[in-house]
Amino acid sequence: MPTANPISSVNDFVIRFANVNGSGSASANELFGRSILRMGVPVSPRNIFPSNIQGLPTWYEVRVSEAGHLGARGGVDMMVAMNPQTWDKDVASIEPGGYLLYDSTKPMPKSKFRDDINVLGVPLTAITNSTYTDPRQRQLFKNIIYLGVLSALLDIDPKVIETLIAEQYKGKEKLLSSNVHALHLGRDYALGNLKCPIGLRVQKADKVGDRIFIEGNSAAALGAVYGGATVCAWYPITPSSSLADAFTSHCRRLRHDPETKQAKYAIVQGEDELASIGIVIGAGWNGARAFTATSGPGISLMQEFIGLSYFAEIPAVIVDVQRAGPSTGMPTRTQQCDIISTAYASHGDTKHVLLFPEDPAEAFEMTAQAFDLADRLQTTIFVMLDLDIGMNHRLCRSLKWDDARQYDRGKIMTADMLQSGKDFGRYLDVDGDGIPFRTYPGTHPTKGSFFTRGTSRDRYARYTEEGSAYADNMQRLLRKFETAKDLVPRPLQANADKPTKYGVIYFGSTSPAMDEAIQLLEARGQQLDRLRVRAFPFHSSVASFIAEHDFVYVVEQNRDSQLRSLIVNECSIDPVRLVPIVHYDGTPITARFIAHAIGDHLDALKITPLRKVVS
């Protein structure tokens, strides 16, 4: 092993696995992450995967951070290079002094390595082939064997991994013992042939607590179950498909009548996104809580219906798991790029409510809340997830539910209310909040029925093409949007220890990287107050936060600083007061990137201007 000033770090490093898609590496890699978690050390794993089923490169990155940093860090301290296709790039990405674990079965020319890294060769293929004959087994157990090697190199307690394997293969004793055997094959080789542990080590800690490890899509789907969704219509699109899949499996466990086994939900895979949102809107019109999960291109296709939901005032929930633009390839990479296309979706004058969860726990809470908001506001509510939160396991606080909580079904006029003579105008603002009463179809034999149209009706839903009636309605819709400001989750503000003239606004999956970036900036002596926006329309505190600072950075994961545009437009802010910090190459934003971009900008301000020449 070359001695290249090895990185030495306990419970604080980044390891990346370079694999071939479809080789069964995902479960071994996930086992790796979980075993460290079980040792009480926080991890944040990220899948970087191709638009492919088999053959293309895929990476799995695990950040180990006892300090609890869950954002992507950038840089790789150890590379597990299992994919010849990406070897050169993978080796090049290792930090100086970092480690390379590779399959040394076939000798590699020296030119394929670097002098400033620590190379650890294990003849994985040779070990595998001498133990297993079945090609599929060879492939799968090779992954477990390198996991065994890593457990020795990084000092991971093998008992912890064995426990996890036992939990995974409960009742399948044969699989259990063969996996444990493979684990020890790798571990024993490493202990016998390599210096263990290396400079990177995992040490038992107590920093995980009762937090849970869950994908945002699964948490959001659980939020839909708890929030009372009964109709789900969807069309497959990465990265949102796993949300509908998770809703299906949650419902199978939690939503069947125990006696009759009948379903208290209906899930339809639509023929496209148009049908999906149409089904959601039909169900919402008829009083069921309904949602769809999609991504940017799906949002594009749904535009007409989203407008109908706005104008005809029909509750709907859309979970948008955002990702990079059209085609295949980049769409398996994360972005926060649908802010404008959702906020102002559709034709005519429209504005929509957006919620921005930062992690799976908020994805659960906000998705559940979205159904209350949709019923209360009688419009579409967007839950703005992204691939980074949606498709990666994330450590987050336990999910909580208050059993006393009741669903807010909004302003529903019942048969009794109609019978008692209560005045019903479908588009009549009875109490100034801009929200009218609605009736469910079939409520009363002679009262409360109306003909639903997008426009061209008066306050009592009677057909009219009068411009004044249209304008009257549009003004009411604005009042309703004002009402929404106090119903949606408020921004969360955290001030710097010392007073500062500068602030930063951010949202969604940027959260963990931002929190860490604040620490990095503090270390540079740079202080920032920060405001995490959690919803649109913006609460008044967004404008006041900006007013309280000389200028404010707006950090987001898209090219056009879309949230900044929305703030400028909706809060009438002078654009020069909002400095865009954007990251949009498809990788999750990192603390290093944010700290660098903001830090350099702040440094540039310190340059003392030349004294004015006094004439």
Binding site: T230, Q262, A288, D403, R453
Partner: protein, 351 residues
């Protein structure tokens, strides 16, 4: 003509149905369509069918897309909720509404532009899914509101009012519905109320995807020589395979048709269709033969009408999904929310 209020009074001796309602209770606003429009005759047939069946008007949900035909739900069943949704998207909206509350009667009204052109996909997929509904296409072969462009059901070789000859092949909606698994398929003519009313009644009682293609001439843009959707053309080429007498309930059936010419078809809900055969060979239970017959007759320029296919024991989408009998929109927190104890278990499994 919406400014003309419909008078509320009516003749005291108007006949009443089992629920005590008169025809007037099934009417809606005054139609704003052209005088003589075939669609208005279909509206009248829907009113008559609902009256005859003694349906509570408010238990019907009327859903349409956009177009002349899609305006008509405003002209019948004024005490029902109606939804004038998005062009070509009635089927998905109706599917969602049906999932939310399986207890209502769903009437989807659409046109040939709405269902065969822009909404062809949605039409196809709701048939495939077996949504329990009556889907009526008011088929005139043209776009009326935008002034007479051909739709996808216009026959090849037919001529527009401006003299343009249509070079595209026509979509046969009934044929497509058959192929996609609709469990009730019929075709009729707006000018033949005697044929149409019992078909609508049977479709409403049918517990599955019921489709009726109603040829409904457009008096403004498609009722000239050279059109294959004009009143004259349809009358000349109408080939009815059967005639339906619709019988509700399980009352003893007294039919005095000649033996061998009538077939009794009992639907899932106990209603009986007395099918008077006009074509002795035609079998309403043979999907493949029906498709073949339609294609064959179409090649000869004939428009086959009547009940084309029925599956007595159809299962609908709720059946496929095994949903609870209670409408999903009536379920509350107790039914739907698994609660904190279940959540704690889920949390524990994620550590």
């Amino acid at each position: 003509m919406t400014y003309v209020a419909k008078p509320l009074f009516h003749h005291p001796d108007l006949p009443k149905n089992k629920l005590g309602f008169t025809h007037r209770d099934y009417e809606g606003k005054v139609s704003t369509l052209c005088a003589g429009c075939g669609h208005d005759s279909i509206t009248a047939s829907i009113i008559e069918a609902c009256f005859d069946l003694s349906i509570e008007p408010h238990r019907v949900a009327k859903i349409s897309g956009i177009g002349c035909s899609s305006k008509t739900p405003d002209y019948f069943l004024g005490n029902s909720h109606g939804f004038n949704s998005v062009h070509g998207r009635m089927p998905s909206v109706l599917t969602g509404a049906n999932l939310a509350n399986r207890d209502l009667i769903y009437l989807g009204v659409s046109g040939d532009g709405d269902s065969a052109s822009i909404g062809f996909g949605q039409f196809a997929h709701c048939m495939r899914r077996g949504v329990n509904m009556t889907y009526i296409v008011e088929n005139n072969g043209v776009y009326g509101l935008t002034k007479g462009q051909f739709s996808a059901t216009a026959d090849r070789g037919s001529k527009s009012k401006r003299g343009v000859v249509n070079s595209d092949n026509a979509i046969d909606m009934a044929g497509i519905a058959l192929q996609l698994g609709a469990s009730f398929v019929a075709r009729s003519f707006s000018g033949d109320k005697k044929q149409l009313v019992p078909l609508i009644k049977a479709a409403i009682e049918h517990q599955g995807a019921a489709f009726i293609d109603v040829i409904s001439p457009c008096v403004a843009f498609n009722n000239h020589a050279g059109s294959t959707k004009s009143f004259d053309y349809v009358r000349e080429h109408n080939e009815a395979v059967n005639f339906l007498d619709f019988i509700t309930g399980r009352a003893p059936i007294h039919i005095d048709y000649a033996p061998g010419t009538v077939e009794m078809v009992e639907q899932h809900d106990g209603t009986v269709l007395a099918l008077r055969k006009l074509n002795a060979e035609y079998d309403v239970h043979d999907r493949q033969a029906a498709m073949s017959f339609l294609h064959h007759q179409a090649a000869d320029g004939q428009i086959v009408t009547g009940l084309l296919y029925v599956e007595e024991d159809a299962e609908d989408l709720h059946g496929h999904l095994n949903t609870v009998p209670a409408p999903l929109n009536t379920l509350n927190e107790k039914d739907l929310c698994p609660g904190s104890a279940a959540l704690e278990k889920i949390n524990a499994s994620l550590r």
